[in-house]
């Protein structure tokens, strides 16, 4: 469904993404992990068209290389941000409707927007000003707005960051439901290995912009190169 071929991005001297290729299949939950600064978020920013880059990206059989972000959103690629983004001027319901109005094929769909609001569990806060939501609320809202665009694929950037155990459990259920009930393909960048091993079918590890390995999570987490460069010896011992 999403094919990334020989993706390279340089910020001046820094090579943030280095000749990276991978493919995400329809219906999958696809994980991406790696140390801080490995280039994970940059990969998202390239896929969503925020920067120019070398290489080619295909989505749903079409070349989407070089399209601007808003067009890519309309094609059916939705995303969340590592640091939650909100619209302080809008309330919860309005924010979700923005996704529907501008991002969904066929425009504003009030029924679908309300369903999504229930789906992410924000129906109680519908008229709440988004600046007043807590961190979990903001994340759910970001996911809700993204889902309101009726995406084919949803890319989550460290959704668990800053969450406690029960919130993580809560979000994991939500992510699984998005994948299974709504049939949305998911890419997830995450640091918590437990989350990745439980949720994902394929796991891509990158470091300094390059792929270290890419396979089933149980194989990846036992790969000596991954243990050495990312997970560390303590992880191996814990197991």
């Amino acid at each position: 469904m999403l094919k990334v071929k020989n993706l390279t991005k340089k910020f001046g001297e820094l090579i943030a993404v280095n000749d990276l290729s991978f493919e995400v299949k329809k219906g999958q939950v696809y994980g991406i992990a790696g140390p801080n600064g490995a280039g994970k978020s940059t990969v998202y920013n390239l896929i969503t068209g925020n920067y120019s880059y070398e290489g080619k990206i295909e989505f749903d059989g079409h070349d989407i290389t070089g399209l601007p972000p808003y067009r890519i959103a309309k094609r059916g690629i939705a995303r969340t941000f590592q640091v939650p983004e909100i619209f302080p001027s809008l309330n919860v319901q309005e924010t979700i409707r923005v996704g529907s109005r501008f991002g969904a094929r066929g425009g504003l769909d009030l029924k679908h927007s309300d369903e999504i609001m229930n789906f992410v569990g924000l129906e109680e806060d519908r008229l709440q000003h988004t600046g007043l939501l807590n961190l979990l609320g903001k994340k759910k809202l970001m996911i809700g707005a993204a889902l309101a665009t009726k995406p084919k694929i949803l890319m989550l950037d460290e959704p668990m960051a800053g969450s406690n155990a029960s919130e993580i459990a809560d979000l994991m259920v939500l992510i699984r439901n998005i994948n299974q009930q709504l049939g949305v393909t998911i890419i997830i960048i995450e640091h918590f290995m437990k989350v990745l091993t439980e949720l994902t079918e394929t796991l891509l590890i990158i470091e300094s912009g390059s792929m270290i390995c890419c396979d089933k999570p149980e194989i990846v987490t036992n790969d000596p190169r991954v243990i050495e460069s990312y997970l560390g010896d303590s992880y191996a011992e814990d197991k």
Partner: protein, 334 residues
């Protein structure tokens, strides 16, 4: 602000304005103030839409106003185009100019947008006074002195007869205000707000910054140009004095008094500022001093402008009403 409050305030304002000539129709001094209030209310509203709503720090508002004024003046004086059409054309020309200025601003961060747009303002004076300006009929440093009145349905509208001109301005004001309210409250307005709050998030949800930012430039400069043109035919003469800091400051004061992004606060700001500036005119050089002091005091004590306490009043009255209702209900229960 809720649509209800917005409409309540605007209706109140324009109803009062609409009957003013009945009382002051014979007093030219007041009629002139009323007309200027109408004109500035719209120009300031446009500024609030682009700056307050869309979050684009455009400082070209006076420049657009002057471009509109000069365009219509030149078209009607040099090319003999009837003012009704030249005003329309001036709006379109200014709108196109707005898009042209907007284009380089799309990729710039706030402070740089302010610089670029103000640079347009700064270059207008030498342009209009210089040989290029004179070549297109700007009249150089002398300006244009013989701008014809607006002729419509066999009537002439100009500063000779203030009441008809007032109602002409009033009609155009109502139309443009309606357009602005519709835009603010439509999905366009939502797109402006979303882009202002977070351009990345907005784009990830399918909003084209390019489209909506250019749209806001086009719309606000079109309407501003229209009113600049109207002003030109009202006073009958133009000079580059319009580009002085004085005019710019007055517009800024309207915004500060009304509250940035608190539309229609800026309309109230226009009423207060235009009136004050006329009343203080005899004080000569002390006027800017007093106006400046007012701005400082307002920024310190009423940061959201004068509109917030007004809305507070409107809502508290409603709350009192609700309390009364609930009291009635509970007493019925007994």
């Amino acid at each position: 602000m809720s649509l209800k409050h917005m409409i309540l305030i605007l209706c109140g304002f324009y109803c009062v304005m609409g009957i003013m000539p009945l009382f002051f129709g014979d007093t030219d001094y007041i009629m002139n103030i009323l007309i200027m209030i109408l004109i500035w209310a719209v120009v300031a509203s446009c500024w609030d839409v682009i700056m307050g709503f869309a979050g684009i720090f455009s400082f070209g508002q006076v420049a657009f106003y002057v471009i509109g004024a000069y365009s219509s003046a030149i078209l009607s004086v040099s090319l003999d185009i009837p003012p009704v059409f030249s005003i329309m054309m001036a709006g379109v020309i200014t709108g196109l100019f707005g898009v042209l200025v907007g284009l380089p601003c799309l990729r710039l961060a706030g402070p740089y947008v302010a610089l670029v747009t103000f640079a347009v303002h700064m270059t207008l004076v030498p342009f209009l006074r210089g040989p290029l300006g004179r070549a297109i009929g700007s009249g150089g440093s002398q300006g244009i002195l013989t701008i014809p009145p607006i002729k419509l349905f066999g009537l002439a509208f100009s500063s000779e007869q203030l009441v008809p001109f007032f109602y002409l301005t009033f009609s155009l004001t109502i139309i443009c205000t309606l357009v602005l309210v519709l835009v603010i409250k439509s999905y366009w307005g939502t797109a402006f707000l979303a882009l202002k709050d977070s351009e990345n998030f907005a784009a990830s949800l399918g909003i084209s910054a390019f489209k909506y930012k250019l749209m806001v430039f086009a719309l606000t400069s079109f309407i501003t140009g229209l009113f600049g043109a109207l002003y030109a035919h009202y006073v009958g003469m133009l000079s580059t004095k319009m580009l002085s800091m004085d005019v710019f400051t007055i517009l800024m004061i309207m915004m500060v008094i009304g509250g940035i992004g608190k539309y229609p606060g800026v309309v109230v700001g226009a009423v207060i500022t235009v009136t004050l500036s006329q009343l203080l005119a005899p004080l000569g050089m002390y006027r800017p001093l007093i106006m400046g002091a007012i701005v400082v005091v307002l920024v310190l004590f009423l940061r959201d402008g004068i509109i917030s306490p007004i809305i507070g009043l409107l809502s508290s009255r409603r709350k009192v009403g609700l309390v009364e209702k609930s009291l009635k209900v509970s007493s019925k229960g007994k």
